[in-house]
């Protein structure tokens, strides 16, 4: 395996501002979600922010969670595709090949995270808005399944540019060009992206995490998971967890739990 791209999402930082959502629409040529699309329940958002309520006024709480393709190592969407339109590549990406897709939608049925979107219509833009379309990303036609790619076009470009630059790139510049659009947009740095091979493999195999993870995102996972000295995502002390982990999908996206302080810390009374 060359890499295993992954993401860390710190729910304690997410404010629900939708910057990631619009950044993704812009980068990936996602069709305009017209009013009718919402009413038909066919709006497309490769990354979305879900809002969950808890309690009643005056103690009601609303919490946000960004959800995108989890790029599962054991993805339920992959084996069901009769034409190998969706497969796992050797960089840990769950890839969708639009040319192969015949629109059976089996993959969307298989996905527990509801992150696959079917093009029920030919996407349409007014002529002048087409000027904005990203030439690096295919416009998907009617009858095709689509989903988050971790902005694979950026990963490819970064690899090529870095090779040409002969190492004359700062770490920050490298990370900026590598990051998916949503990660760069996020004002609170809720999302972090990187090669998580050295962290995800031990998590999948239940072995020890590396002493010094390579990426910033990996270091963050290690810090959170081992804050109580434990290893493993479900360890009580750490904040890390993976979405619906018991399904055995083995996602490459790691969430860090939202923190809820004791009431005394906010108003001094319980």
């Amino acid at each position: 395996m060359a890499e295993s791209w992954g993401m860390v999402i710190d729910l304690d930082k997410c404010i629900g501002c939708q910057a990631c959502v619009v950044a993704c629409q812009s980068e990936n040529n996602i069709p305009i979600n017209e009013e009718a699309r919402f009413n038909e329940r066919r709006a497309i958002e490769w990354i979305r922010v879900e809002r969950y309520w808890e309690g009643e006024f005056p103690d009601a709480k609303a919490r946000f969670i960004p959800i995108l393709c989890q790029h599962c190592a054991d993805a339920p969407c992959e084996p069901v595709c009769p034409v190998y339109a969706t497969y796992h590549n050797d960089e840990g990406l769950n890839v969708q090949v639009y040319n192969r897709c015949i629109g059976t939608r089996f993959c969307a049925n298989g996905c527990p995270y509801q992150v696959r979107f079917f093009n029920f219509w030919e996407p349409e833009w007014p002529e002048s808005l087409k000027n904005q379309l990203n030439p690096d990303v295919t416009v998907r036609s009617r009858g095709i399944m689509e989903k988050c790619t971790f902005c694979i076009q950026r990963i490819r470009r970064t690899g090529r540019d870095a090779a040409q630059a002969n190492g004359d790139v700062t770490d920050e510049e490298f990370q900026r060009t590598l990051n998916p659009a949503c990660v760069n947009a996020c004002p609170t740095q809720t999302l972090e992206f990187g090669d998580l091979l050295d962290v995800l493999t031990p998590l999948r195999e239940g072995t020890r995490l590396p002493k010094e993870p390579k990426s910033r995102a990996g270091a963050k996972i290690k810090k959170e998971l081992e804050s109580e000295g434990g290893i493993g995502v479900r360890e009580p002390g750490g904040r890390g967890y993976r979405l619906l982990e018991d399904l055995g999908t083995n996602p490459s996206v790691i969430y860090l739990r939202k923190v809820e302080p004791k009431v005394e810390q906010t108003t001094g009374h319980d």
Partner: protein, 753 residues
């Protein structure tokens, strides 16, 4: 040549040409995987891109952005990592600048009204003709010595554009009335009164330990949301212990949702709550004594004891004193306020009381507290953008009615949409002989214009900005054209032009001596840059000016992190006399709900309504899009037998609008919260005739001290109509995630350390 089995598999898997290749060099192991032995379509990258730094002009705070340009077209907006204000971060609104640039309903060239005013019938004319007509009308005013009847309405413009606009109006001797879509008059007045500052201070959220915010939706749209959100990320999970935030509001806002605790206060009572907190701090010896002495003159504010005011403000006494203790114990702590807390008849009092709390916990001028901003290093640009309080708009409407306005020129502002309908601005405009608009899309104001002289989009134009608030040190941002004007191909006489250059051209025709350091707007900007160059300090230094200018454009601006505010330490003023809010109507009889409008994440106060991405951006709390909804308490909705999507009529004493109900558990029972920004009369295919404009039914109560509109002081009555419309929203737009009590989708760690 005999084929091995392995080579055979390779051949059948690949194409004929590939097979030849394989036969020649053998088949690599990995080609036998399921994955195809060629690059996938989505892996292919073609073309070179260029990224240009400029400023985002989608909202009042101009974030530094970089624009990806390929083959002369802008493709993507990202934050500029160098720019101190936002440090690489940006908002959903910044992204949508591309849709303003390539908007299908953009005005392509000068338009002359062809039908009746407001009929939206225009014909195209040339720039020579258009400028001639505008100049002629201004000359007429000069000839009749009626220059004062020329009004230039803009958005609040800073930087060099502000300088050009102000100078033009001053030399013409007309009226300059910058229009703020959501008024911050009270905020500025409070900052001046409490801290003695003309410029907004920076809030050092990143290093704070406790944030107490009153009504300010600062993570969403208030003042400088991207900067605040960046700091908030660090405040939550950075290198320091996690900070605590408490939000006081009269509705359930996105910022409130992100607080650790929410306190709901009766509308307009925020200031009294702040005084009560001050009382607890002083009485319990938690406050800085010198500051307490200066603020109160030895008074212990006994009448604001939590027990005494609990009933009135709707917050339990123990909650108030607990909050005061947490606030004092959480230093460095920041108290900030704005939004609906400022939008009452006692808005100035509310804010002065709130911001005064910072003195009591020693946060003024401290790390993790309130950091003052220095004046701009350029002394000829406006220190802060000029703005006009609501009271002056009332005067203007009267002047329009009495025929004292001869020419109205409007740029980047939509007062016909945003001013309350009861002001009668639209009707009064029929008494204005000439209305000129510089907008490049049809908004409610431009639809009423006689002549439209469309300006460039900001991605096609020059500009500069001395942001207010700045990052705590000197900063001048520069905006450059990143693409050639989109309508350039239509020829010199049928495209768009820069607003500043048009003003300069008109000034030339009118023989107005503007005394500006250049013939064109670009010259003026360069003259400004030359001053920065001569300072020989800051982020960009170069041997010659040309290299300096390139450096400034490359990095998006010039700043000097060591040039901080050096003024005398602020001294606490005496606390203001408590005031209670007034409402319209005065009594809640038959008008049983407080109407609390808010600026929504996508379309703000209407500026983004013509951009489909902004229309389709789900509101964080309701996930609603495209239409206008009203947030109503779930229990109250059950009592009134309201479901989501039921059409309800909200009536104030000034009018009524029909909107869709959205019940949720967060909103207080006596409050209806409603987003601004829809209900445009004009605005192109994405904005026109969509939803309802809440601003149109507002009562025209003001804070008498400042003349600011009290836009949260209207009471309404709710009536259920016999209609149901599906509310377009993202929530439930796909199948739900599996429900599993064992492993929740959104997990929370209860901190019991």
């Amino acid at each position: 040549m005999a084929l091995t089995r392995r080579q055979f598999l390779g051949m059948t898997g690949g194409s004929a040409t590939a097979a030849v290749l394989f036969a020649a060099c053998g088949v690599p192991e990995k080609e036998l995987l399921v994955q195809a032995p060629f690059e996938m379509p989505e892996d292919l990258v073609s073309g070179r891109d260029a990224w240009y730094a400029t400023l985002c002009r989608q909202c009042a705070t101009s974030e530094g952005v970089v624009i990806r340009v390929m083959e002369g077209r802008a493709k993507k907006v990202e934050g500029n990592i160098d720019y101190p204000l936002n440090q690489g971060r940006h908002s959903a609104r910044c992204e949508a600048g591309l849709q303003a640039l390539y908007n299908p309903d953009r005005i392509r060239g000068p338009l002359l009204r062809a039908g009746e005013r407001g009929s939206s019938q225009f014909e195209e004319i040339s720039w020579t003709d258009a400028l001639g007509r505008l100049t002629f009308q201004l000359e007429e005013l000069q000839r009749r010595r009626a220059q004062k009847s020329m009004v230039l309405i803009t958005n609040p413009v800073g930087g060099h554009l502000g300088m050009v606009a102000e100078r033009f109006v001053e030399r013409f001797r007309g009226r300059f009335m910058p229009y703020e879509s959501i008024e911050r008059t009270n905020l500025r007045a409070a900052i001046k009164q409490v801290f003695g500052q003309d410029r907004m201070p920076d809030f050092d959220i990143e290093r704070a330990n406790f944030i107490l915010s009153f009504g300010a939706d600062f993570l969403n749209t208030w003042v400088s949301p991207v900067r605040y959100a960046r700091g908030f990320g660090e405040f939550r999970q950075g290198d320091r212990p996690r900070g605590t935030m408490v939000h006081v509001d009269s509705r359930f806002s996105m910022t409130g949702a992100n607080a650790d605790d929410r306190i709901f206060v009766k509308p307009g009572m925020e200031g009294i709550l702040a005084l009560s907190i001050a009382h607890v701090l002083i009485k319990d010896g938690l406050a800085d004594t010198a500051a307490a002495e200066a603020l109160t003159g030895g008074d212990t504010l006994e009448e604001f004891a939590p027990e005494a005011i609990a009933q009135k403000i709707g917050v339990a006494a123990e909650k108030v004193s607990g909050l005061a203790h947490a606030f004092a114990g959480g230093r460095p702590a920041i108290a900030l306020g704005g939004g609906s807390a400022a939008a009452h008849t006692n808005g100035l009092f509310n804010l002065t009381a709130i911001y005064s709390l910072n003195y009591l916990v020693g946060s003024v001028g401290q790390e993790g507290g309130i950091v003052f901003n220095p004046a701009s290093p350029l002394d000829d640009i406006p220190s802060v953008p000029a703005v006009t309080a609501f009271g002056e708009w009332q005067e203007l409407a009267n002047d329009m009615r009495s025929g004292d306005v001869g020419v109205m020129m409007v740029r980047g502002a939509d007062p016909f949409y945003g001013l309350p309908a009861s002001l009668g601005f639209r009707e009064a405009s029929y008494d204005v002989p000439f209305i000129f608009s510089f907008s490049n899309f049809m908004d409610d104001t431009t639809a009423m214009a006689d002549l439209v002289l469309p300006e460039h989009n900001y991605l096609e134009d020059w500009g500069s900005d001395s942001p207010d608030p700045g990052p705590g040190y000197e900063l001048v941002g520069f905006q450059q054209p990143v693409v050639r004007p989109f309508f350039e191909s239509r020829g010199e006489h049928l495209g768009t032009r820069g607003f500043a250059d048009v003003l300069l051209a008109i000034a030339g025709e009118l023989d107005l001596e503007l005394d500006l350091p250049g013939e064109t707007f670009k010259d003026i900007l360069q003259a400004g840059a030359l001053k920065l160059f001569e300072l020989k300090r800051g982020s960009v230094r170069a041997g010659d000016f040309r290299a300096f200018w390139n450096g400034v454009l490359q990095r998006g601006g010039w700043w000097d992190v060591s040039a901080r505010s050096t003024g005398p330490a602020a001294t606490p003023p005496k606390l203001p006399q408590a005031e209670e809010p007034r409402f319209d109507p005065v009594s809640a009889d038959r008008f049983d709900f407080h109407l609390v409008p808010f600026s929504s994440v996508g379309i703000s106060e209407g500026q983004g309504a013509h951009l489909p991405w902004m229309q389709a951006t789900p509101d964080p709390i309701t996930t609603a899009t495209w239409l206008t909804w009203v947030e109503i308490n779930l229990k109250v909705a059950e009592r009134l037998e309201l479901r989501e999507g039921d059409v309800v009529r909200l009536s104030s004493t000034r009018g009524s609008i029909d909107v869709l109900a959205y019940p949720h558990p967060g909103v207080p029972p006596d409050v209806l919260a409603i987003p601004m920004g829809q209900g445009h009369v004009a605005g192109g295919r994405y904005a026109e005739g969509r939803g309802a404009n809440v601003l149109s039914i507002l009562a025209t109560l003001t804070d008498e001290k400042t003349g600011a509109l009290a836009w949260a002081a209207t009471r309404v009555r709710l009536e259920k109509l016999d209609r149901w419309v599906r509310l377009p929203k993202f929530e439930n737009s796909g199948a739900d995630l599996p429900e599993d009590d064992e492993q929740l989708v959104l997990q929370v760690t209860r901190d019991d350390t």
